[in-house]
């Protein structure tokens, strides 16, 4: 790295390759119909999805695809306030009706997977926690579980650490869904709801701050356990939350759930069927809103979710209202789980006592040469992870967060890939928006609850 010019961000490496002609990038933007290939047009019209005859017949209700001079292509975003960040949608409109839609993403791409290859497994948490910044604990959990599986210590994590992880990820689900309720309300004009949702979320974040020192981006769940034990008085704080939030949720019900305007805006909007959701790889509340009872916590249990009692909330219509109701009720289910965790929280270590993975306690460093060496090695070189590759998926508030790590035996991942739930869910938008009104687009985008940090990574 000799000169500043060469070390600038993303400086392209001179790249000569026989296939350079083959890999020249085309344009990302949505093109007029006349310039769109038949395959791509099919995709944008959603007709590649596996549909039953009845569903295909319903498509007959949709407006006919007209000539170009009757339509216009407009941009929604990337600076649109209801796109939750920097999502840009290109919409083809005929009057008020959306005919085609193409999400254009990448405005928040910061190469976090490339960065992840430079960081040790101990540092990796700081990186992945920033991807889906509304559910940082879930990111850290997926990353830590993948690393532990590669290390072969996934069965040796102390009980207290496991239950603490569950406590934090359930509280995280609550805070994330509360924020969804806030933004969903705001997008649809229930501006009061925005204030209430943020207020309740802040109560949860205040607890996170007490535990981890930070409101977001905690880097608290680490390979081998957690960074620290729960602080004194944590139980009272959680109990306070459990007392406070149920009555606030009742207020949300009064404000929105039963309210005719709210129902009118959401019911029957952005409908997706189970087959389409599965074909598009949608996950989490979107899949559950179609009536598919798929929740990794129940169906492929990790941590100790098989020992707690909770319900998987499913919808039946696959519309924006179902997705709203599912998230609202998932907050209640999470509180049910948190109550059980409070009863069963075991005592003991909060991290594995494996000298090769866990830094020694501060006091040991003064008295033991070995502890000092381990400490030094862990924080300079990091611990080595055996060769292999692994995929671990967990249920985040938005769907499955997966972590794929390929290790070459060095202290940094050879390749780390995060399966981002928002990335997949965004791909449902063209289908859910088709044939709807442009005013409903806001409701549909909001109901997928995208986090652009997760989409773009």
């Amino acid at each position: 790295m000799s000169t500043t010019e060469e070390t600038a961000v993303g400086a392209p490496v001179p790249w000569s390759h026989a296939n350079v002609g083959q890999t020249t990038a085309g344009e990302q933007e949505m093109k007029p119909r006349s310039e769109t290939t038949a395959d791509e047009l099919m995709r944008e019209l959603g007709s590649v999805l596996r549909m039953s005859e009845a569903e295909a017949a319903q498509l007959g209700d949709l407006p006919e695809d007209p000539d170009e001079d009757q339509t216009m292509i407009i941009n929604m975003g990337p600076q649109h306030p209801s796109t939750h960040g920097v999502l840009r949608l290109m919409l083809e409109l005929q009057g008020e009706t959306v005919l085609r839609c193409k999400p254009i993403i990448g405005y928040l791409h910061t190469g976090m997977e490339k960065t992840g290859e430079q960081l040790t497994y101990l540092q990796g948490g700081t990186n992945v926690t920033r991807m889906d910044y509304l559910s940082p604990f879930n990111n850290e959990l997926a990353f830590s579980m993948a690393t532990e599986k590669l290390l072969g210590i996934d069965g040796d994590i102390p009980e207290r650490a496991v239950w603490m992880r569950m406590l934090l990820s359930e509280l995280n689900r609550m805070s994330s869904h509360l924020l969804f309720l806030a933004t969903n309300g705001m997008d649809l004009g229930a501006v009061g709801m925005m204030i209430y949702g943020w207020r309740e979320r802040e109560e949860v974040l205040r607890f996170f701050q007490k535990v981890t020192g930070l409101r977001m981006n905690h880097n608290f769940i680490r390979p081998g356990g957690l960074a620290a034990d729960l602080p004194p008085g944590w139980r009272d704080d959680v109990l306070r939350l459990l007392d406070l939030i149920p009555e606030r949720l009742e207020e949300y019900d009064t404000l929105m759930t039963g309210q005719p305007i709210w129902r009118e805006r959401l019911q029957g909007v952005g409908v997706i069927t189970p087959d389409e959701a599965i074909a598009l790889g949608a996950n989490g509340p979107i899949l559950r809103s179609t009536g598919v009872p798929w929740d990794l916590r129940r169906d492929m249990p990790y941590l100790r979710y098989d020992e707690v009692d909770f319900d998987v909330i499913v919808g039946s219509y696959g519309d924006a209202y179902d997705r709203y109701a599912i998230r609202l009720n998932e907050v209640r289910e999470s509180m049910k789980i948190v109550r059980q965790i409070l009863e069963r929280m075991p005592t003991g270590d909060y991290r594995i006592q494996d000298k090769k993975v866990t830094p020694p306690p501060r006091a040991r460093i003064d008295e033991s040469m070995e502890a000092l060496i381990h400490h030094f090695k862990l924080f300079t070189e990091g611990f080595k992870v055996p060769e292999g590759e692994v995929y671990v998926g967990i249920e985040s508030p938005r769907g499955e967060i997966g972590c794929y790590i390929a290790s070459d035996g060095s202290p940094t991942p050879y390749r780390i890939h995060m399966r981002a739930p928002s990335f997949a869910n965004i791909q449902c938008l063209p289908h859910m928006l088709r044939g709807g009104l442009v005013a409903d687009a806001v409701a549909v985008i909001s109901s997928t609850d995208p986090v652009l940090g997760d989409v773009d990574r």
Binding site: P12, A25, T37, E40, A279
Partner: protein, 178 residues
């Protein structure tokens, strides 16, 4: 993974009764195991047929698709009979009905980085394939919209390749000597 032994995706021994150790296969493709997870290693020719056969078995959802550039780690452990290539395309499939997963790793050579698209089978793989193309320059043939997805459309190079340098901003700390 399902608990039944009749799991179609679990590596099963071929019918031959040879005394020599035989490698397990899934739908005629070499299969292995990594950290307790089933991994199948089809060739590029077998890839589409394998995904099709697995979809018939119930693996109806592409949960993840990504690339790996093994330029600096070419001698990775692979089952017998699999020639290592520079690139790999890794596909994670999910079977919702039977609650099981399977992973597919396809070797993609450097001098011809192409592989068929899964678009016809799994429309949801479309965006992942664009991402893999964007990051690694692996072309998915017959993909309806083979364009960059995360990087700007006029970007040169494919950032997650190992021969692509990491971008750095020089940071001037107070009192530090450059």
């Amino acid at each position: 993974m399902s608990e039944t032994d009749t799991d179609t995706a679990a590596p099963e021994a071929p019918d031959t009764d040879d005394a020599a150790e035989t490698t397990p296969t899934v739908h005629g493709c070499v299969a292995g195991e990594s950290c307790g997870q089933t991994v199948v290693f089809p060739t590029r020719e077998q890839y589409l047929d394998l995904v099709k056969a697995l979809a018939d078995d119930g693996y109806t959802m592409v949960i993840d698709l990504c690339g790996v550039d093994y330029l600096e780690y070419f001698d990775r452990p692979l089952p017998d009979g699999i020639e290592p290539e520079r690139f790999e395309v890794v596909v994670n499939l999910l079977d919702i009905a039977h609650r099981r997963r399977v992973r597919i790793r396809v070797q993609v050579p450097e001098d011809e980085p192409t592989i068929p698209t899964l678009f016809d089978l799994h429309p949801g793989a479309e965006a992942y394939e664009r991402e893999t193309y964007d990051m690694f320059g692996i072309v998915f043939t017959d993909h309806p919209d083979m364009t960059r997805i995360l990087m700007p459309e006029d970007w040169i190079g494919h950032p997650l390749r190992k021969d692509y340098a990491v971008g750095k901003i020089p940071v001037q700390f107070k009192g530090a000597h450059a």
